[in-house]
Symmetry: C2
């Protein structure tokens, strides 16, 4: 059927979409959600049909993506014919029926996700199947490989390539920015890509961005940094790394789902893409962490080990405490200051952050062959205390276009502040990580770099009535108010 | 945060949607898919946030629905703040976790579906949970009641109110248009709402529309027709009957899912809305029907009986043959002619359609107390052969604004035809219902009323090489070609 293009100057986001009125759709025997081939001159796209009320019987509504793909002018004739549903839908249905699917079927699904062929509801079916039935280890392996291979990949001539990942859920916890310079100072290669935060006050990318540029759009730029310094601390989101993951995360978000096959493939695809050969996985366990129990931890540990074996990576999985924030600062600038204080040996450096980072760096030094068994921690300490790690961090900051001479005490925080004081004397038995994260975000973190919370005490401390427990920083008044309001309704500390 | 409205003159369809650029969304700590409260003067809506690239830092993009709800002018100031996710999402997650949910939780979900609060991916999660875990009978009952009560309902002073439904999947099968006039001719009330076809060549509403108007937009109009004639044969889609069902069906469509709780609630909510007290459910069983096996049939039968009991309806569930099309015509006009031929006692009337309709009408006459046990069929035959059923059908046609004097031999069919002849002599062992439906639809049915297929033979017939087996009718040349092409690739008959 031939129709005239009516252009809507807006991106639909997601699959190609065309709009038809109900009459035209019925004439073509198309229902809302069906696919159609849309042709103009010698080009075509396969688009999802949506029903719109205000179009005429000779019109087809197109958004920017279709307009650009077909190079359409307003009113230009466009031919539309029904198209079969993509094969990947059949494979998704198989997973809903708890049937195994083949390597090819998984690659088909991932390709269709990357090519924006599937709608959000079709992705929700895939995620539901993974959530309820799980995937076999083979399926998870193929999912991981497909996710990695459908995007950019970093390839290195040198081995080993060190990697780490923490299964989120604990605020602060900025170990990566300490581990990477320590490990790189020992001569090991550690090209680290990180995400921005989704629910915590800052991700590694948000925090590193206080000190340097983290958005590099080409693999070449990253390679240059790593070749200079042995390492990098960049935002993965600026590159096309495992692009299917973003589409999946977007659909998981509203129900806060993170089925094991997606969690594993999301993390491991990114490590695979970084070219990692030796990997440390940190699983914080605690009531505010993703893993609530030792059983959750063991479940994930086994899966990570099995998957790493299939991907030919050496792996160490460790369990750490996930009961309260790590470090004193929560929010990009406050966390960046904590990191620099640790590197500089400043007495105000948070010891929990320092100790956890040294322990993890030690394991990586052993894994990478730079230290003998049980000697990694000692070497890590030496590299930190000697200033080698600080020197390495300055090199990385410089290579990423930042100021290597940055003074942690000159970092700017939000000018609007609120001090929270103890309402009674006693022992601090809870620092509610979830609520502190929420407060820091309401105050503006991570978008407003200087927003967040600075903790003066940690769990177990004895506090006196009226003693300052933490300060909230915000860059605007209304955000500070929102944060304080929440805090007043939902206390974040418990004193007994 | 205050932004300026940028209007896009297009309906988004589904939930309210607003567009923000990535920067503004991060500033508000909103992710794509999050909810936000959008306010202008004293009005507000809760909308889903989507990220768009081309908006400015002070702009919010809105579609027609939001524009109209807030009465916005271009550039008008709009305030936006993040909003909590609806509670129903928590209930949907519980169902994914196979936990029971309460009556209130189910009503919340259905209300949110009707109010367009949930996105298609969130509905897909609900459907997945129902598909994999199923619902308890209590949950299915509440789902049914909630679906009925959130739309228009027909209420009748007289009892009994007769109803019937066929679990689709068999082409032709236009029994409703014979059962209703027979049952109503006996003095029973039978207010029947029907759907248009989704996958078959015609639904009852499509076929009845050849003879009369079926789109009535108010409950009052339907009541007038029923008060005049004891019955009606109308399209449910023009009314607001169980409106949540449409939203669910739309999301089920791409994977062709129809989980039992949705199938049951969709059908039973509509019967409940019709005010039905006595119900006959027809479940065709066969390889081209929805129910493939006797076990499938028993599963559904038990569920229907249990649910009817809870809704205080008397029910009879019967198993019929689903092996091949019923009647000779497939497509609205061709099926309408079959129906009229049966009513008029024409010798060309398809006997299978006549016999199935009489059997079912007989059961309803017994259920409704007009015939003693085992006497229903006899009474149905009398009502048909006496012309009473035809007279009743004419009354219904007249009440619905059609021509009661319509001559079945004057009904128009598509002028483009193709005769399919037997390629060899032998016994016809298969008439592939799926493929015939597909061919009839490619030929233009049900949108093009005169399109479809007329069968000269049925399964088991002995045919001779070169004998005409069926004719395809189409209203346009290109649709006939599409149908014939498909037929040549996918033979619809098997001769042995």
């Amino acid at each position: 059927m031939e129709l005239k293009a009516k252009l809507f100057h807006i991106e639909a986001g997601g699959p190609y979409i065309v709009l038809l009125n109900r009459n035209v759709a019925r004439e073509l025997d198309l229902m809302s959600g069906d696919r159609a081939r849309v042709m103009a001159e010698r080009k075509y796209v396969v688009a999802i049909v949506d029903i719109a009320h205000h179009l005429k019987n000779n019109e087809i509504g197109v958004f920017n993506e279709v307009k650009e793909a077909l190079n359409l002018d307003p009113g230009q004739p466009v031919t539309i014919i029904p198209e079969e549903a993509p094969k990947s839908l059949g494979s998704i249905k198989k997973k809903l029926n708890n049937q195994k699917i083949s390597k090819d079927e998984i690659y088909d699904i991932v390709n269709d996700i990357v090519d924006n062929v599937l709608t959000q509801s079709e992705l929700a079916y895939l995620i539901s199947a993974a959530y309820i039935h799980g995937f076999s280890m083979s399926e998870t392996e193929y999912l991981t490989r497909a996710m990695a291979e459908t995007g950019d990949m970093l390839k290195w001539k040198r081995k080993p390539v060190m990697g780490k990942h923490c299964i989120g859920g604990v605020a602060g916890n900025r170990t990566t920015m300490l581990i990477v310079p320590i490990v790189a100072a020992a001569g090991l290669m550690m090209p680290k890509t990180s995400s921005r935060s989704i629910t915590s006050p800052a991700g590694t990318a948000d925090t590193m961005e206080v000190l340097a540029n983290v958005s590099f759009k080409s693999v070449e730029e990253i390679k240059n940094i790593v070749n200079k310094t042995n390492a990098c601390l960049v935002w993965g989101g600026a590159l096309r790394l495992a692009p299917a993951d973003d589409a999946i995360v977007k659909v998981e978000h509203s129900l806060e789902l993170d089925p094991t096959p997606m969690l594993l493939s999301s993390i491991m695809a990114k490590k695979y893409v970084e070219g990692v050969t030796h990997l440390l996985i940190d699983i914080p366990v605690g009531r505010f962490a993703k893993s609530k129990t030792h059983k959750d931890y063991l479940h994930l540990k086994n899966h990570f080990e099995e998957l790493a074996k299939r991907l030919k990576m050496k792996i160490r999985v460790i369990k750490t405490k996930g009961e309260e924030p790590i470090g004193n600062g929560l929010g990009p600038a406050l966390e960046a200051r904590d990191v620099l204080w640790v590197l500089k040996g400043d007495e105000r450096a948070p010891q929990d952050l320092k100790n956890k980072s040294l322990m993890m760096a030690g394991i990586l030094l052993e894994l990478g062959g730079k230290a003998k068994r049980r000697r990694g921690l000692k070497l890590a300490k030496e590299l930190l205390e000697s200033g080698d790690a600080l020197k390495k961090m300055k090199e990385i900051i410089a290579a990423q276009g930042g100021n290597p001479k940055i003074n942690p005490d000159k970092i700017k925080f939000g000018p609007h502040t609120f001090d929270y004081v103890a309402k009674k004397s006693g022992k601090l038995i809870t620092l509610n990580d979830d609520r502190l994260s929420r407060i820091a975000r309401l105050a503006g973190a991570p978008k407003n770099k200087g927003a967040g919370i600075y903790l003066y005490v940690h769990k177990g401390a004895k506090v006196k009535k009226g003693e300052k427990l933490f300060t909230i920083y915000a860059e605007s008044d209304w955000k500070l108010n929102g944060a304080v309001k929440f805090l007043q309704k939902w206390p974040a500390v418990e004193i007994k």
